[in-house]
C-alpha cells in the first residue's frame, strides 16, 4: 500500500517538475552516450496473397463450369467443392469472399474515400460474369458456404411452393439491407452474420455457431437453406443465371420425360413440362397479370410508407447512436451501470451535446435509408408477384435457371445420360436389334 502511494507521489512529483518541451510530461532525458531510438513499424502485407485468391477463384470457376457443362461429372464437381471448402474455407478462413465483396463494392461506390482493392473488384465481378454465361457454377463447387451445405443435403424434402416463393424474397431484402448498411459505413452485415465462418476459423461468436449448426441441421432436410433463402449474392446470381447463354441441361440429348430427375433434386430447382393452357386459363392469367400490374405501384408506395418507420430501429445498429442513447440514459439517471463505451466517451471529455447532434444526424440519415429500403422491398415483392403471374412453356424437364446451382446431382439419374455414358443401351436401338 505504502509502495503504491510512493509510486503515485513520485508520479505527481515528476508531473509537477516536468519540463516545458512536452508540456506536463516527464521530459525525455538527454543522454551523453545513448541516442534516443525511433521505433519502427512493419510495412503493409504483400498484395501477392490477394492475387493468389483471384487466380484460385478463376481456376475453380473454370473447372466447375467445365465439369458441369462439358464433362457433366458430378463426382468431379463434388471433389472440387470439397477442395474449395478446404482451400477457401479452412485455409483462407472464408475471407475475402465474393459474397462479402458485395459490401466493399457498395461502400466504394457510395463513399469515394474508401478505395476497394482491384483484386476485390475481380472477386466480385468474375462469378457474376461467369453466371451470366454459364449459370450458377460458382454455387456448384466454388463457394465454401455452398460446399458445406452440399455435404449435408442428404434427406431432402420438397418445400411447398408458397413457402418457397415467400422465403426466396428474404435474400433480396438482406441484399438491400447489406448494401445500405455498407454504403453508410455502419456495418458489414453479411460478414457479421455469416453462419459458417466460425467453423472455418474454428473460433467465433457462440450465437452464430448455434445459427450455423441449426442451418446445417435444417440443411439435411431442406437443401442449402443459406444459399436459397438467405444468401444475398445468390439472389444476384439467380437473376443473372436466368439470362445465361449456356446452362446445365439435365438430359445430354432429347428429354424422354421420364421424370426421374425431378425427385432427386434437393433444391426443388427442376421445372416440369407445362400443359397447354385452355383459352379460359389464358383469359384468367391475363386478368391476374393486369391486376398485379395495377397493384404493383400501390405495393411499392405501401412499403415506402412502412419504411418511414424503419429509420429508428435501423439506426440502433449504429455505434454512435447506441452510445448517445447510453449517455442520455446515464445523464437522466435511468441507468446506474456504465458501459465501456460510455466510460471511454467520458474519458475523452467530449461534450454530450456534440454526441447528441452527431447521433441525431445519423438518425436522420437512417430515416432516408429506411424509406429507400422500404421502396426496395416493395419493388422486390411487386416483381415477384409479376413473375409468378407470367408462365413460360416447356416441353421437357428443365432446370429452373434461377434456382439451379449446377450441382449435377440429376445427371446420374437421367436414362439419356446413362445411354451417353454407355452404361445402358438406347431403348430405340435395342428395339431395332431385336
Amino acid at each position: 500500500m505504502s509502495r503504491r502511494c510512493g509510486l503515485a507521489a513520485l508520479g505527481l512529483f515528476l508531473v509537477l517538475s516536468a519540463g516545458s518541451v512536452l508540456g506536463e510530461l516527464i521530459p525525455t532525458p538527454d543522454f551523453s552516450q545513448h541516442p534516443i531510438p525511433t521505433s519502427s513499424v512493419p510495412s503493409a502485407a504483400e498484395t501477392a496473397r490477394e492475387y493468389v485468391d483471384v487466380v484460385s477463384l478463376a481456376l475453380a470457376l473454370g473447372l466447375a463450369t467445365y465439369w458441369a457443362l462439358v464433362t457433366r461429372s458430378r463426382r468431379s464437381l463434388f471433389l472440387l467443392s470439397i477442395s474449395a471448402l478446404v482451400w477457401f474455407g479452412f485455409v483462407r478462413k472464408g475471407c475475402v469472399c465474393p459474397i462479402g465483396a458485395t459490401q466493399n463494392i457498395a461502400l466504394a461506390i457510395f463513399q469515394p474515400a474508401y478505395v476497394v482493392p482491384l483484386s476485390m473488384v475481380i472477386l466480385f465481378v468474375l462469378p457474376l460474369l461467369v453466371t451470366l454465361f454459364f449459370g450458377r457454377t460458382f454455387c456448384a463447387a466454388v463457394c465454401p458456404l455452398g460446399a458445406v451445405q452440399e455435404l449435408v443435403a442428404v434427406r431432402s424434402v420438397r418445400v411447398p411452393g408458397w413457402l418457397h416463393h415467400a422465403l426466396s424474397l428474404i435474400p433480396f431484402v438482406y441484399l438491400g439491407a447489406a448494401v445500405l448498411f455498407a454504403a453508410t459505413g455502419t456495418a458489414f452485415l453479411i460478414c457479421r452474420y455469416d453462419p459458417f465462418v466460425a467453423f472455418f476459423r474454428l473460433n467465433g461468436n457462440a450465437n452464430l455457431v448455434i445459427f450455423g449448426v441449426c442451418l446445417l441441421v435444417i440443411g439435411v432436410f431442406v437443401g442449402r437453406p443459406y444459399c436459397r433463402y438467405l444468401c444475398p449474392y445468390g439472389a444476384l446470381l439467380g437473376i443473372l443465371s436466368r439470362y445465361s447463354r449456356w446452362h446445365v441441361r439435365i438430359p445430354p440429348d432429347k428429354c424422354i420425360n421420364c421424370r426421374l430427375c425431378e425427385d432427386v433434386c434437393p433444391y426443388g430447382a427442376i421445372d416440369r413440362p407445362t400443359v397447354d393452357p385452355t383459352p379460359a386459363d389464358v383469359a384468367r392469367g391475363r386478368q391476374r397479370l393486369a391486376a398485379v400490374l395495377l397493384t404493383a405501384p400501390l405495393i411499392v408506395v405501401a412499403f415506402a410508407l412502412l419504411g418511414t418507420r424503419l429509420g429508428g430501429p435501423l439506426s440502433l445498429l449504429d455505434p454512435e447512436v447506441q452510445l448517445a442513447e447510453q449517455v442520455r440514459r446515464e445523464e437522466l439517471g435511468l441507468t446506474a451501470t456504465t458501459t465501456d463505451a460510455s466510460d471511454a466517451f467520458r474519458a475523452a471529455r467530449r461534450p454530450a451535446s456534440e454526441l447528441y447532434a452527431a447521433a441525431g444526424a445519423r438518425r436522420d440519415r437512417f430515416g432516408h435509408l429506411g424509406i429507400a429500403l422500404g421502396v426496395w422491398v416493395g419493388l422486390v415483392l411487386a416483381v415477384k408477384l409479376v413473375s409468378l403471374s407470367v408462365h413460360g412453356s416447356r416441353s421437357e424437364y428443365e432446370p429452373n435457371r434461377t434456382g439451379c446451382v449446377s450441382c449435377g446431382r440429376c445427371f446420374w439419374y437421367c436414362p439419356v445420360e446413362q445411354v451417353r455414358l454407355g452404361l445402358i443401351q438406347d431403348p430405340a436401338e435395342r428395339m431395332e436389334s431385336t
Binding site: R4, F31, I122, C191, A347
Partner: protein, 216 residues
C-alpha cells in the same frame, strides 16, 4: 408454328439483350472502381492511439489466434523512468525484472539500464513484438505518466477483414480505415516529435517512419 418461332426469336433477342447489358454493366463497374484506384491507395484498418482506452479488447477480439494489434514504444515521448508505471505492477515487490513485478502478462516489455545522471537511474523500455499480445496493460499503466506506449495494428499480421472484429468491439470507436501506403496513426504528440526529428538529416529512420504514417 410461325408465331411460335417468332416468339422464341423475340425471347432470344430479349435474353441476349439483357445478357449484353449485364456484362456491360459489370464491366463498366469494374472499370470505374479500378480507375478510381489510380487516384488513391487502398484502405486498411488502424487504431487511433489518442482514442484508445486500453480496454484489452484488441487482444481477444481479433480473428487471428494472436492479435494483429501490438504495442509500440515512442522513445521520444518516454521519460525513461526507473519506476515505470507501464512496466511495474502497482503491487510490485521490488524494482527488479522478476516476473511477479511486471505488469506485462507475457514479459514482452524489455527493461534495459541506460545511464545514471544526478543520482537518477534511467532505463529504456522496448517491446518484444514476438511476445506482445496487444492486451494494452502497459498502455494503461503508461497513460498515468507520459503515454509513450501505445497500441497499433501491425500490418504484417493484419488480414484486413471487411468487418474488423476489434473495430466492432472497440468501446471508444478508435478504429479507422487508412490508405494502405500510409497505414499507421501515431499519437498526436508522437507525430509532432517525429516530424521535428525527421527534419534532422541524421535521422533517416525517422523519415522512414514518417513515410508510413498518415497525417490527421
Amino acid at each position: 408454328m410461325a408465331s411460335s418461332s417468332q416468339d422464341s426469336n423475340r425471347r432470344d433477342f430479349l435474353v441476349n439483350g439483357v445478357r449484353v447489358a449485364g456484362a456491360l454493366t459489370f464491366g463498366s463497374l469494374a472499370g470505374f472502381l479500378a480507375g478510381r484506384k489510380g487516384h488513391a491507395a487502398e484502405n486498411v484498418w488502424q487504431l487511433d492511439p489518442d482514442k484508445c482506452i486500453g480496454c484489452s479488447n484488441c487482444a481477444t477480439y481479433c480473428v487471428l489466434d494472436e492479435s494483429a494489434v501490438k504495442c509500440v514504444q515512442c522513445f521520444d515521448m518516454c521519460g525513461y523512468c526507473d519506476i515505470c508505471t507501464g512496466y511495474f505492477d502497482v503491487n510490485y515487490n521490488a524494482l527488479t525484472t522478476a516476473a511477479e513485478n511486471q505488469l506485462c502478462p507475457t514479459g514482452a516489455v524489455i527493461r534495459k539500464f541506460v545511464e545514471e545522471k544526478a543520482g537518477q537511474r534511467f532505463y529504456e523500455y522496448t517491446i518484444d513484438l514476438e511476445t506482445c499480445i496487444g492486451c494494452g496493460k502497459c498502455v494503461k499503466g503508461c497513460a498515468l505518466m507520459n503515454g509513450s506506449l501505445y497500441l497499433q495494428v501491425m500490418h504484417d499480421r493484419c488480414v484486413n477483414c471487411n468487418e474488423c472484429a476489434i473495430a466492432k468491439a472497440c468501446p471508444s470507436q478508435a478504429y479507422v480505415r487508412l490508405p494502405a501506403d500510409r497505414p499507421y496513426l501515431l499519437k498526436q504528440l508522437a507525430f509532432t516529435l517525429l516530424e521535428a526529428k525527421a527534419r534532422d538529416p541524421a535521422h533517416g529512420e525517422a523519415r522512414a517512419l514518417m513515410n508510413k504514417v498518415s497525417r490527421r
